[in-house]
Amino acid sequence: MALIELQNVDKIYDAGSVPVHALKDLTLEIGRGEFTAVVGPSGSGKTTMLNVVGGLDRPTSGTVTLDGKEISHFRRSELVDFRLRHIGFVFQAYNLIPVLTAEENVEFIMLLQGRPKRERRRVVRELLEAVGLGDKMTSHVSELSGGQQQRVAVARALASRPSFVLADEPTANLDSAAASTLLDIMEQLNRERNMTFVFSTHDPRVVDRARRVVRLVDGRLSEDLTRDAR
């Protein structure tokens, strides 16, 4: 069974008088442990697809099944809870909580899950060390570089023990070295923990590392290639 399954998904935004058809009859399956990049030109529907997969947006029609659960008709609060327990997010602009330290940012999501303090402390240390920030645990977000903040964001995404991680343009704001480090870490997490990553990206560095590349054009799936096929 696929971890992420989109069946005939359409997404239409009512943007004023002209509706925008962002996703058109999209059918796609992503399996557990995949390292997938969603690519395409601006306006092709990459972010919309990630939002739909992430339960941040509902499809206009079609079904979205995540880890065996059809979420298209979930209530708002059910979606929030589902996101908390099943999906990790990494955003382009890091989007950490600026008033918290690196460790508090990672711990925060586990606090929302109601996990015990001892476990939270252990996981925080383990994850921040895994992303190479064991020595920055008590640093405030503002004291970290962009690359370091994005690594904290990856640690935060993993802290909730998600079924998969969605990363929207994760390297867009990073220089080459930081982007490379981040991709190394995510590849390692994918390999060692069998964590599923789905990226939307324009960045060829990410595309090069992806084992599967899904190309969207005008909201439609135009290409779906594995590394071997590329």
């Binding site: 609060s77 929030v80 997010f89 989007n95 600026p98 711990e107 935060r156 909730s160």
Partner: protein, 404 residues
């Protein structure tokens, strides 16, 4: 951690937070000081009126307060006083003859109320003896002596040792008059009282009008003024045929002042805090609108609406309570200082006395009001967080993260 996030968010834009904290603190400071001044002024004025004129309970013939007739009196005052002395409710009591009459000097004549009193008993019941601004309180032991109000003296053109003719009706309705010498001039907090009150010895007044042991008023000071209603009921049982009335019935305007001062202050403070509510709401709304992306992210990663609401409410509480603690500390400090030094409004004494207010008083604020302020502030903080929290909860996380 929600609390940590809340207070760090308050510190995050410290200038904005400081402004609203200072606004809350200064508003409460002003409200507390003004309330304490108003409370003390009213409380002390009521107390002064009771001490100098009214006492706690009075007994009259049932028709006297309506008719003011000399015939509507009570016999056997000494027996009444003896009965009162045996009551555990009563600290002191005095019997008075009260007659409407005229005071005349060579210059003019003024309508007055003549009180025939026993000076020794009266000292235990009223504070007139301590309100003398000139002369003494029937201390020379001679007959035909009078103690009069300062305003009355001014109207009559009388001074200490001036002769004043008092005229009234005797028991048969005839006009009778006597000449008295002014030996004391008093000044209370009430100009109307000072304009009309003349005190003479009771026996002399009884002799003038042809009565013996026949008084119109028995004034009583209670051991426990806070048990006024119960004491009034008890005393009424002792004198079933007479009208036993508490000061609240005798001077309803003072009763209202006393009963409603608490409500006035609560309403006054509530209005101040209500005004603050808009300031706090504005600050919280600005704080939420500044952080739309952040709330979008929090929703995206799985923070439920209830927790978002709790976080915003905690921020509102941190802001409001910090301001409240500062405001209460400053207010309580100022009230304590003014309570020591007192406020002297001698410059406005004429006007204040016209309304029965004391000119010097010591601001105080009952502790319960501070507790109520905290409750009001907490309610305001909660209310102020509702709209901003609703805005934050209703955010579309995808749009918030993408757009802001």
């Amino acid at each position: 951690m929600l609390f940590q996030v809340a207070y760090r968010n308050v510190l995050r834009n410290w200038k904005r937070s400081l402004i609203i904290i200072l606004a809350i603190a200064s508003g409460l400071w002003g409200g507390i000081v003004a309330s304490a001044v108003f409370f003390a002024m009213t409380d002390e004025s009521v107390r002064a009126a009771l001490d100098s004129r009214i006492s706690h309970v009075q007994i009259h013939h049932p028709d006297f307060l309506e008719s003011r007739s000399m015939r509507d009196g009570m016999s056997d005052p000494e027996g009444m006083l003896e009965t009162l002395r045996l009551s555990v409710r009563v600290r002191a009591a005095t019997a008075r003859v009260v007659l409407e009459g005229m005071a005349s000097t060579a210059e003019t004549a003024v309508g007055v109320t003549i009180f025939g009193i026993n000076p020794d008993q009266e000292k235990d019941v009223t504070t007139i003896a301590s309100k003398l601004v000139e002369g003494s309180y029937f201390e020379d032991g001679k007959e035909h002596r009078a103690v009069i109000g300062g305003e009355l003296a001014r109207k009559l053109g009388a001074r200490l040792r001036s002769k004043v003719v008092l005229s009234t009706q005797d028991v048969d309705g005839n006009i009778v008059a006597t000449s008295v010498r002014v030996v004391g001039i008093f000044r209370t907090e009430s100009t109307p009282f000072d304009e009309t009150a003349v005190f003479v010895r009771r026996q002399e007044l009884e002799k003038l009008v042809g009565t013996v042991d026949f008084v119109h008023e028995v004034a009583i000071v209670l051991n426990s003024p806070d048990q006024l209603e119960a004491a009034t009921v008890d005393l009424q049982e002792l004198f079933p045929g007479l009208a036993v009335q508490s000061w609240k019935a005798l001077a309803p305007e003072l009763g209202y002042m006393n009963d409603f001062i608490g409500i006035y202050l609560e309403v006054f403070l509530a209005i101040i805090i209500f005004a603050m509510l808009f300031g706090i709401t504005n600050t919280m709304l600005m704080s939420v609108l500044d952080r739309i992306r952040e709330f979008g992210v929090l929703s995206a990663i799985g923070m439920k609406g209830g927790r978002v609401f709790a976080m915003i409410m905690l921020e509102s509480m941190v802001l409001s309570l910090t301001g409240a603690v500062l405001g209460i500390a400053a207010g309580a400090g100022t009230v304590a200082l003014l309570g020591e030094t007192g406020i002297d409004l001698a410059a406005f004494a004429e006007g204040l006395r016209g309304y029965g207010y004391v000119e010097q008083f010591y601001p105080a604020m009952p502790f319960v009001f501070y507790q109520h302020i905290i409750i009001w502030v907490l309610l305001a903080a909660f209310s102020a967080s509702l709209y901003p929290a609703w805005k934050a909860i209703r955010l579309d996380p995808a749009q918030a993260v993408r757009t802001y």
